[in-house]
Symmetry: C2
Subunit: 181 residues, 2 copies
DNA sequence: CGGTTTGTTTTGTCAAGACTGAACAAGGTG
DNA sequence: CACCTTGTTCAGTCTTGACAAAACAAACCG
């Protein structure tokens, strides 16, 4: 996971007191970009990934327009991607009385996790259907049947470990949960 | 995983004897298309996925040109995608003495699996790096730290179960192994 | 009511990547 | 040697999707 340095690297040699501060910021930047790439591999827009990253490292809900300027993207993109993540259950839109603006935080319900688990289940089902149609003792030694069994087991294990993880999180109650992308 | 029926659906009412045969073929078609979509989600070209699907359900190595006509795709695409999968260790190119043509079969070494596991490890490392940079007792209750811990655990578990699976396969020796995409 | 803030939707541009078809290379074979 | 066969590579087309910018809607404020 390699992420290039954020474009303008401020000269920090002048203010040694801010060194730790700076290191944190750089790490954050890297993490956010990393999440952008990571979630992009899961077929989400890069901005959505960055949003998740930013919200993970944000202790408090973030304002809509703040997201736009922090990530340096258009408000339109924020709107689209927040809604996307909202529908997926990954982030949550929160409001405050007497405040017209929207805030966002990562949702404690692990939406993405469920999603991924379901995908594995689908693939497992697909392999099982194929196995079904194959009829029992076919060609010598039934190579194909064995392969399909392997595939089925593969997807099953992945889906299972995700599901048991989900259950564990659910059971653990309100603490230390994440959107787990 | 929904896959539309292959374009020309032959009328099988006339030859009842071929019904089972037909059912198998239809299931194969569905499986192949399904693998196309499934591997596409893993950032591989659709044709590569179909190739994997086809080779999984093929008891014997398949000829290069046969692949092209079976999937109704140009030879160029077959060439590109077979090489891609070959480099990934997912399929294997085999030849026969006195035969100038190339044959392909799915490789027994689970290349894709390793790949996926590595990806999870990378993400785990990313989250750990962020956690490092965060310094210990930060904001009240350290929400962010807890979230990162959850994330780290998440990726770790996935990578671990994949790795233990890989080990199990390795140990099981020569039987019932698959490219496990 | 006009004007402002906040967020959404739409429109257009751009880039990435998949795929085809044709040109190409490298071996066989008559 | 001319001519297949087999596979690779290259150039061009097409599709997809992300994104920005602008138009838009809605709520609020004066």
């Amino acid at each position: 996971m390699t992420v290039s340095e954020p474009t303008p690297v401020p000269d920090r040699s002048a203010e040694p007191a801010a060194a730790a501060e700076y290191a944190l910021h750089a790490a954050e930047e890297r993490f956010i970009e990393g999440m952008g790439l990571a979630l992009e591999e899961d077929r989400l827009p890069r901005i959505a990934g960055r949003l998740v990253g930013l919200l993970i490292v944000s202790p408090r809900p973030q304002r809509f327009d703040h997201l736009a300027e922090r990530l340096r993207v258009s408000r339109g993109s924020i709107s689209t991607n927040t809604r996307l993540l909202e529908n997926m259950g990954v982030i949550e839109r929160v409001t405050r009385p007497g405040d017209r603006r929207d805030y966002f935080q990562i949702n404690e319900q692990p939406g993405l996790l469920q999603r991924v688990a379901d995908r594995f289940r689908d693939r497992q089902a697909m392999a099982e259907e194929m196995k079904q149609a194959l009829a029992p003792g076919a060609d010598g030694g039934d190579v194909v049947g064995d392969r399909l069994d392997g595939l089925i087991r593969f997807y099953a294990i992945l889906a299972d470990s995700l599901n048991s993880m989900l259950a564990a999180i659910e059971e653990a109650g309100g603490n230390s949960r994440s959107g787990a992308p």
